[in-house]
């Protein structure tokens, strides 16, 4: 077996993930390399979900019975865990949503309905990048269309990095908000947050970071990042689906208007008007995803016990190995950074003229799960003049042997269509 420095004890970790034992297609053990789409779940998270439903299920923030109090304590306890996980100055800065898309839409709508000085209108500009997931493009397109604000973006270089050469022309005095991804979901690129934030702060623009592909894989410290908003989702970080997070700076959350109205987010309601609860509840209308928040709390506990720095080191070692092995495959072209430097464990590639759907289908027959298509980042494919890519993405339970299986699988694909 290949031994690399920095690897976690994957043999022990994999025992926590029942799905990784699954056998498909007549006896082939699954090789799960689609972690950028969603991660598998450890027993600890599944148990927390079950225990919540079996022992404590009730609605939160209302009722005086013991179950309601337990459910509230569990839900709010999850908020504490997430706040600690991202080093938030205050637990009240952690808003639970249903996913990162909702978090990003929430920011766009806060700004669209805000008063001065936050208001995005026809006189102002919104800045994103060509590297974004559709969830960090479309909400801003909608905001731009509805307010008349101009939408601008950073391009991408040939080697899969953000082109910041014209940063002073892109981010200007007119810029109200700069929203970009910390780690690309298609190319794995880790973006230079400091440079962008420095320029945004110079012109007084707010900064929103999509950390969906970062939170599961590295230490995420919202104070160190110095952004104004950070969005991520639970299901990519060994938590359940249906739970996302928006972190926002407290004074912004106090000033900005709610988006969704309903139960839970109010202080008092009369027929003519209402006053709102303080953040985070102001932004959590209706019954929240309680069990899912509890599950995310368990996921955060699980990751923290292993250590995010150790997980990052493991993935870096796997990435280095994968980049090296994949480069040996004839006709394989990595779309994005071709070294492990400043990149995460998500690697997109093309294989000769073989369409990614064919690559993915034949790999599936071998028990290897990868993602194929444009990965909700179609502008990136257009940028590189390709219809789609095959994407392998690794996580804390990924092994060098799985990289080897992928490389062997790709050789098989080449022979099959060659």
């Amino acid at each position: 077996m290949t031994q690399l420095p920095g690897l976690l004890d994957t043999e022990a970790i994999r025992k926590d993930f029942p799905l990784l034992d699954r056998v498909i297609h007549d006896g082939k053990k699954i090789v799960y390399l689609d972690n950028a789409a969603t991660s598998q779940k450890p027993r600890q998270v599944l148990d927390a979900l079950n225990a919540y439903y079996e022992q404590s299920n009730a609605n939160v923030h209302r009722g005086v019975h013991v179950l309601a109090e337990e459910a509230t304590a569990l839900y709010e306890g999850a908020r504490d865990k997430v706040a600690a996980f991202i080093n938030a100055p205050s637990r009240d800065e952690v808003i639970f949503t249903k996913n990162a898309s909702e978090s990003l839409n929430l920011v766009a709508n806060m700004l669209g309905w805000a008063d001065e000085p936050y208001r995005v209108d026809a006189e102002t500009e919104i800045v994103i990048t060509e590297m974004e997931h559709h969830s960090n493009i479309v909400p801003w397109q909608l905001l731009s269309q509805r307010t008349g604000a101009k939408l601008k973006w950073f391009g991408i270089t040939d080697d899969g990095r953000l082109d910041l050469s014209n940063i002073d022309e892109i981010i200007t005095e007119k810029t109200k908000i700069v929203s970009f991804t910390l780690v690309s979901n298609i190319m794995g690129t880790i973006n230079p947050v400091d440079t962008i934030i420095r320029r945004a702060q110079e012109v007084g623009a707010l900064v929103c970071i999509d950390a969906s592909q970062a939170a599961p894989h590295m230490v995420l410290d919202v104070q160190a990042l110095q952004a104004d908003f950070v969005a991520f989702t639970g299901h990519k970080m060994v938590g359940p689906t249906g739970i996302g997070v928006l972190w926002g700076r407290q004074e912004l959350l106090e000033d900005l208007p709610p988006f969704l109205g309903g139960g839970e987010m109010i202080e008092t309601v009369s027929m003519s008007s209402s006053t709102y609860a303080p953040a985070p509840h102001k932004f959590e209308a209706g019954t929240p995803p309680i069990a899912q928040a509890v599950g995310l709390g368990a996921a955060v506990d699980y990751l923290t016990a292993i250590g995010m720095d150790k997980i990052a080191a493991h993935e870096h070692a796997i990435t280095e190995y994968a980049v090296k092995r994949l480069s040996e495959v004839e006709g394989l072209r990595i779309i994005g950074p071709t070294t492990a430097e400043d990149r995460g464990a998500t690697i997109s590639f093309t294989l000769g003229d073989i369409h990614p759907h064919d690559v993915g289908q034949v790999l599936d027959e071998l028990g290897i799960a990868v993602r194929v298509g444009h990965h909700c980042a179609r502008p990136v494919c257009l940028r590189y003049g390709i219809p789609a890519t095959t994407r392998a993405s690794f996580y804390l339970y990924s092994t060098p042997a799985e990289v080897d299986a992928l490389v062997e699988g790709l050789e098989h694909v080449r022979n099959f269509f060659g």
Binding site: H355, H357, D358, Q361, V362, V372, G373, H374, P387, F417
Partner: protein, 149 residues
């Protein structure tokens, strides 16, 4: 799913390239980015030519090649019957085992029966066939309906 017939058509497509036509359509399969530009040429009610350019997976490209084989030279009504039969097969979720009668209609296209078990790939197989239907409606207008009535 990857029958030898399919791979043959993929590697050596029949009738590929755009030629003169009465109507042209461009169809895409957004889930995987398969694209096809397809032209139809009619000689009265006879399918005189189906020409196409496209990019995409082996299933989508092979299917266009098979379509060209099957439909060129046919009377419209018969071509429409073939299209309908292929559609039925592809929407069968793997439940239809093509019998002799179906094989007589579909010839090489029966090789796609296995694809119908993969919901994500059915659209790939149908791309050119839907494009052909669309182009035919544009080329013949209401005539396409009348001629089959």
């Amino acid at each position: 799913m990857y029958q030898e017939v399919i791979l043959d058509h993929y590697k050596h497509p029949h009738g590929r390239g755009l030629r003169d036509g009465d109507a042209e359509v461009h169809h895409v399969n957004p889930t995987c980015g398969d694209e096809i530009t397809l032209r139809v040429k009619y000689d009265g009610a006879t399918v005189a030519d189906v020409s196409y350019e496209g990019q995409g997976c082996s299933i989508s490209q092979a299917s266009a090649s098979v379509l060209n084989d099957l439909l060129v030279g046919k009377e419209l009504a018969e071509a429409q019957k073939i299209q309908a039969t292929f559609l039925e097969l592809m929407q069968s979720k793997g439940q239809i085992e093509p019998d002799d009668a179906m094989e007589e209609v579909l010839e090489d296209a029966v090789a796609f029966a296995g694809v119908s078990k993969y919901p994500a790939r059915v659209k790939c197989a149908l791309l050119s066939w839907m494009a052909w239907k669309d182009a035919t409606a544009q080329a013949l207008g209401d005539g396409a309906e009348r001629k089959t009535a």
